[in-house]
């Protein structure tokens, strides 16, 4: 699917999950945005498994912006858009923080876990995004980071086999 073709439509139809939020860059702002996104997905008729996946992907992407693009300063702005594509939800995040190093997205490889003393306490964020998203794109445009992440509805939910509750309306 073409992420770039996702157009804005602030449709407040009761079955439409699309939304746009402007938030600050603190962990509490992230938490509130996640709650709003989940509410939007409930409105759109999405089931708990899919909502959980979108929430985790959005959390990791926003945490990355808060911790790295804005370096934990909390004074930045982030625009969060949730768009409905055929068979997927697209998350579009815009911020004016530092660009991705080398202007490329992290590979998100899972490090060997090791044991006890050398267990990693971080570095899971991009691994989870890449694992759960169907498509990810990043560009830097006029001082703005634009990250788009699509989460496909079918494969994950079908694989978990809980059936009906995750079916869109």
């Amino acid at each position: 699917m073409a992420l770039s073709s996702a157009k804005r439509s602030d449709n407040q139809h009761p079955l439409c999950p699309e939304m746009t939020l402007e938030i600050g860059s603190s962990p509490m702002d992230v938490r509130r945005a996640l709650v709003r996104a989940t509410e939007a997905l409930v409105r759109g008729g999405y089931g708990p498994q899919f909502r959980g996946i979108v929430e985790l992907v959005l959390a990791e992407a926003l945490n990355n912006i808060v911790e790295h693009a804005y370096a934990g300063q909390g004074a930045g702005r982030i625009q969060v858009r949730l768009l409905e594509l055929p068979g997927a939800i697209c998350l579009q995040l815009r911020d004016r923080g530092a660009p991705m190093p080398g202007l490329v997205l992290p590979e998100g490889r899972l490090k060997p876990l090791g044991h006890d003393g050398d267990l990693p306490e971080g570095g899971f964020g991009w691994y989870l995004i890449r694992r759960l998203a169907s498509e990810v794109s990043y560009r830097r445009d006029a001082g703005e980071n634009i990250l788009e992440i699509a989460v496909a509805r079918e494969p994950e939910c079908a694989a978990e086999g809980s059936g009906g509750s995750d079916r869109l309306r």
Binding site: P27, G52, E55, E60, L119, P120, E121, F124
Partner: protein, 124 residues
């Protein structure tokens, strides 16, 4: 971060908050370090009320495990579906023993009081 503690062998620590996310990770770590009994050999972290954990929360749980004394074990119980998925995606089931319910974790404590994960198991 609200934690409720019960017993010493095992010590059961129940998380009373619905989220262990980036906004709560430090509080969680601090509360856990204060709650952990040094004499408990096995600690069961009851996550049945936790609906959401992100990678920051996961890192905080790993950090708690790393801060424990060498003879102490941290098991996780009552993982809700998304939390369970997070732990399995990140292969944490190779680091922690995961129990579907607190009752299952406690039953395991009764039948295997000296349960150790990994290296103490007798070789073949």
């Amino acid at each position: 971060m609200k934690l409720t503690c019960r017993g010493t062998e095992p010590q059961v620590i129940t998380v009373g908050a619905p989220r262990i996310d980036a906004a709560a990770a430090i509080q969680f770590k601090d509360a856990m370090r204060a709650a952990l009994l040094p004499e408990a050999r096995r600690v069961i972290l009851d996550l049945s009320a936790v609906e959401f954990i992100d990678s920051s929360g996961l890192g905080a749980i790993v950090a708690v495990k790393k801060s424990m004394a060498p003879g102490q074990q941290l098991d996780l119980a009552g993982l809700t579906p998304m939390v369970d998925k997070l732990f399995r995606l990140t292969r944490m089931e190779t680091i922690f023993v995961l129990f579907p319910t607190l009752a299952a974790a406690e039953a395991s404590a009764l039948s295997e009081p000296a349960l150790r994960f990994g290296s103490d198991a007798p070789g073949h």
